[in-house]
Symmetry: C2
């Protein structure tokens, strides 16, 4: 596709106004919003207000005067339409890993007669690590991992929880959430989804898909900033039954009664632990505001068009140099695309030097994320052109580059 | 003391320059830095730089280019001199409650044949709640609480961990850390200290006192901002032995190898879990910079002079109206002072209306924190004058105020 055609697609894009909601560095083609979302225009001013006006002037009174104490649920409510969840099913808290530990241990606690956490081979490592940490703590519990295609049949009456990442961090392969939830429920198991690579890019409907539990990342497509707090989701009907072992005072029914015994709050607030991080909640609040006025169906549709255009352009230009490592069917794919190249790491370094920002994932994947709110069709074509230039005008002899990589 | 005498003390105060490092609202006497530290002058600019320059312009490259990935250890190193710890024994991470869960569960894991977590009756509730959460998860484990004076003798060969708050959040009573550590070690138990009301106000020497484990709060005397991340401390010689069940990718020996099995990092980094919160690490960094050039001995000495002057002034002016609820001996006291009053809540509301900011703690305590870096002797005298005015010129009939409290 010529760049003019891509620009015409951008002019007709129903999301074209959204790009102005972000500060994007001139001349950079940023295709790594799946790793760290871009800075929203509104974030610096909002943060400055929270810091200088609220913290600086009103100090401790801000917990009530500026609603700090409710921020974990107030900001979470903005996320509800992105996930197809009810506002009272969501919280912003901690990191994804910590939220995962809370919900995984709470879920296992409801199935004491079952001993298996079932997950996928090659799941995002922190998900497996957290499960391994819990397994070491709880006698009799074990973690079983299976290849994706064996998961549904691998769920049995010993399965307490099925722990999966909805969109694979390497390939972007997407699970059929409704089908796996149904398979799990048929066996009496719960499901816990990591939505880190889905939320804000893929249209989710946690309610219709009968999702039990989920966590996800605030700093990717949600634009909450580096190390933003995570979100957690607990289906309303499960909340009373689940108890997080990270039972801190903010999850207590009466945090300021300072009672000696833990009594969990009614509803989703019981999954809070420590004092909420007000500055990062403010940044995530601004990140979520970048979605205002657009539906997740529009966003998902653009995501698929962007990633498909990139695949088409790369394969047309340099398809013999790289191998698609993501599903070819857009419906089976999240919002990023990976290609395999024997010198993937060096190729990505060359791209970054040419101001096309993606990232590299072991063992040989160059990965490109498409954030529908700010990436354009013209950027996609330009990035493919630059990749073509890098792959076809340089010698990518594997031995040489591996040797160089060792000394730099 | 006349205000002029207090002002003379301020002029001679070796910490007098430190006050200019903070933005303090005109006309407010802020005696609640033990709950939320004041805003450092440098914080807004530092945060703006991290947000606009690092996140906004350099995006994902900032993890290396701006050292984001090392922030949890780099910022922690600034804390080392405040605690008498080695830099490699400290991390900034998560919330105090989450850090407490990590270290408590790791400690218990090293003593599987012992079944008791020993703590204090009336310990800060979240500490007890976290222990209760762990007890529910780990079969055979129990939490035992004793009054302060029975703790040392309550440690026995079934005690896995002694979990205590160094400075009591209500009375400011301070434990003899070295003595309790010695008593615990004599029985083969570990100690885990919550330093939330100590760090930045009291001179600590975790090394000399043979402290095993500690956590503490970033948003009180450390001035890290509302909901700042916490710190955790693990004595060097224990690090290899301890494993946190919150085994997230950032605590892995090679986080970016994306290996399927968790292998803890060497050293303190193994206690990291999720992606570090860069914005709040920056704010805490600025908070810790407010200590530069002053020793904790100077800071502790001023803390004791401030709190003693406040006790003396209040008792001289209105000693029949309130009862000291903190230790009378300054060496037995942290950096805040509590007085009991039957209408404590209403008295504190009146004080706040008069721009003297303390807080109220159940059942009847008015609590005043003294932050040696920014509170002055003149503020102490003025606050006591205002309290005297409130207590002696109004009728504080208990029934009437209780009734009013119920309808507002």
């Amino acid at each position: 596709m010529r760049i003019e055609e891509a620009e015409a697609l951008d002019s007709a894009d129903p999301l074209r106004e959204a790009r102005a909601r972000f500060r994007l560095a001139q001349g950079m083609i940023y295709l790594d919003g799946n790793s760290l979302g871009a800075l929203p225009q509104a974030t610096p001013e909002l943060l400055a207000r929270v810091v200088e006006r609220e913290w600086g002037e009103d100090l401790i009174a801000s917990w009530n005067a500026h609603g700090w104490i409710d921020a974990p649920v107030r900001v979470a409510a903005k996320l509800a339409p992105l996930l197809g969840a009810r506002p009272n099913e969501l919280l912003i808290a901690d990191s994804t890993s910590v939220c995962l530990f809370k919900l995984l241990s709470a879920a296992v606690g409801t199935r004491p007669e079952r001993s298996t956490i079932l997950s996928q081979q090659g799941n995002f490592p922190t998900d497996l690590y957290v499960a391994q940490g819990l397994v070491e703590l709880v006698p009799g519990l074990k973690l079983v991992t299976l290849p994706a295609e064996q998961l549904a049949e691998g769920i049995d009456e010993d399965t307490a929880v099925v722990l999966l990442t909805h969109v694979d961090y390497r390939s972007a392969a997407i699970h059929d959430m409704a089908a796996i939830n149904a398979a799990a429920h048929a066996q009496g198991a719960l499901t816990l989804w990591d939505l880190s690579h889905s939320a804000g890019a893929i249209a989710l409907d946690l309610q219709s898909d009968a999702c039990d539990l989920a966590v996800g990342c605030g700093y990717k497509y949600l634009n909450g900033g580096p190390g933003a707090p995570a979100f957690l989701y607990v289906a309303e009907q499960l909340q009373a039954e689940l108890r997080s072992p990270l039972s801190g005072w903010m999850g207590h029914a009466e945090p300021f009664a300072f009672a000696p015994d833990y009594r969990p709050a009614e509803g989703i607030a019981r999954f809070l632990t420590g004092t909420p991080s007000i500055l990062t909640l403010a940044a995530l609040d601004a990140g979520l505001d970048t979605f205002a006025g657009f539906s997740m169906e529009q966003i998902e549709a653009k995501s698929r068009r962007l990633s498909q255009l990139f695949i088409d352009e790369v394969e047309a230009r340099c398809g013999r140099e790289v191998t698609l490592a993501s599903p070819r069917d857009p419906a089976q794919r999240g919002s990023h695309v990976s290609f395999a190249h024997p010198n993937g790491d060096a190729v990505m370094q060359a791209l970054i030097s040419s101001a096309v920002i993606g990232d590299y994932r072991e063992p040989n994947l160059i990965r490109f994320g498409f954030a529908p709110l700010y990436n354009s069709f013209a950027e996609v074509v330009r990035a493919a052109e630059i990749l073509e230039g890098i792959l076809t005008t340089r010698s990518w002899d594997q031995t040489r580059f591996s040797a160089r990589a060792r000394v730099t």
